[in-house]
């Protein structure tokens, strides 16, 4: 493939050539809407690319464009949707948004140096999918749940009932504090318990950062954020486990959110 000097190459993903050879190439729009996705075969690896113009994607232009949230949102979602479609048909190593090469030669060079690792990854990702879990806590509701269901609280309450009226007042105030701490402990325990179950079904997992409310735009706070890599046929068990966590009465106030299947973004490190 010839590249003109004002043309750059946007790289979405790497797929095994063996899988691509069995598939029909599709006519999908690229990140530049005037261009189509194309598949560039480099031995056992096929790069999913799109030609882009340096007037939009050169280092300087890209820097400027990335400051424009409308542009960034549109392009990042295009990247995401394209990757999801590829992931339905192929074993995909997803690249980060904004991976750009000047020529096909330099792309080939980069892939050659990573050849061994790419082979390993295709093996570990074949037949697998990624699922993400985020747990949100409505603390007021969950405090209520703890008050009603926690044996530790129930015992404290019984102790307080046997105390004098004056002492009860202070002890009840202390109890509020205790409930709040107990609630945080139980949230952690429940998240960890689910995480252990899901890890048991998975070949790999990653615990991620909890995002601030400003980022999620929700009133509840995020209290667990994780990713799992598992066999496609295990996905049903994972979905059921998360569903069960949501329905359990002792989890009232917690929301377990599952999204997927995702391309294996969290399990494709080249290092």
């Amino acid at each position: 493939m010839q590249t003109k000097t004002d043309q750059l190459i946007y790289l979405y993903a790497l797929i095994p050539t063996a899988e691509f050879n069995n598939a029909e190439p599709s006519e999908e729009p690229g990140i530049d809407p005037d261009e189509k996705l194309s598949y560039h075969e480099i031995g056992p690896v096929t790069a999913v690319i799109c030609p882009v113009s340096s007037s939009e994607f050169s280092e300087d232009e890209l820097k400027k464009n990335a400051e424009n949230m409308e542009w960034l949102q549109e392009k990042a979602f295009h990247h995401h949707e394209t990757m999801n479609r590829l992931n339905r048909d192929f074993t995909v190593i997803p690249l980060k948004f904004g991976t750009i090469y000047e020529t096909t030669e330099s792309l080939e060079q980069a892939l050659h140096t990573k050849h061994e690792r790419l082979k390993e990854l295709f093996t570990s990702l074949a037949g697998k999918e990624e699922w993400n879990v985020k747990v949100y806590a409505d603390r007021d509701t969950f405090h209520q749940t703890v008050l009603e269901t926690s044996p530790a609280i129930e015992e404290k309450n019984r102790e307080i009932e046997n105390m004098s009226k004056g002492k009860q007042f202070f002890e009840r105030r202390k109890l509020d504090q205790f409930v709040s701490e107990q609630a945080d402990r139980e949230i952690n325990e429940k998240c960890e318990a689910l995480h252990d179950r899901l890890t048991g079904m998975s070949s790999d997992q990653e615990i991620k950062k909890n995002w601030d409310r400003k980022v999620t735009g929700r009133t509840e706070s995020m209290c667990f954020n994780s990713a799992y890599l598992l066999d496609t046929e295990n996905a049903g068990t994972l979905i059921d486990a998360v569903e069960a966590a949501n329905k359990a009465p002792e989890n009232a106030g917690l929301t377990f959110e599952l999204t997927g299947p995702w391309p294996a973004y969290h399990f494709s490190s080249l290092e």
Partner: protein, 107 residues
């Protein structure tokens, strides 16, 4: 199970801005590209995009999209177009005259 899957897929499409940005911008493999984008932190981008989406939604919700349908504003738009066409015409005429004058002075 297929139905369950579809429901989950829908939630991927509609309400997980955070999921999408944290994976697409933050994760994924970096093979040293020739040009690498050095993004501001994902947290900040997510907040900004959320505000952008919220402001568009909010505008629609509280009827702030009146300019799309209000005949007064649409007619104003027509007026502006007429004015624009007129001015462009004037500009072309002036350019012609300048050309004429300068060619006259040259010869």
């Amino acid at each position: 199970m297929d139905q369950q899957r579809n429901e989950i897929k829908q939630s991927t499409n509609s309400n997980s801005l955070v999921d999408v940005l944290e994976t697409v911008l933050d994760k994924g493999v970096v093979i040293a590209g020739d040009i690498k984008i050095n993004l501001a932190d994902v947290e900040l981008i997510t907040i900004k995009i959320r505000l952008l989406i919220a402001s568009v939604d909010k505008a629609k919700e509280i009827g702030m999209d009146w300019w799309e349908t209000d005949p007064h504003y649409s007619s104003k738009a027509t007026d502006l177009k007429q004015e624009n066409d007129y001015l462009r015409g004037q500009l072309e005429e002036l350019e012609e005259r300048v050309k004429k004058i300068s060619s006259e002075t040259e010869s």
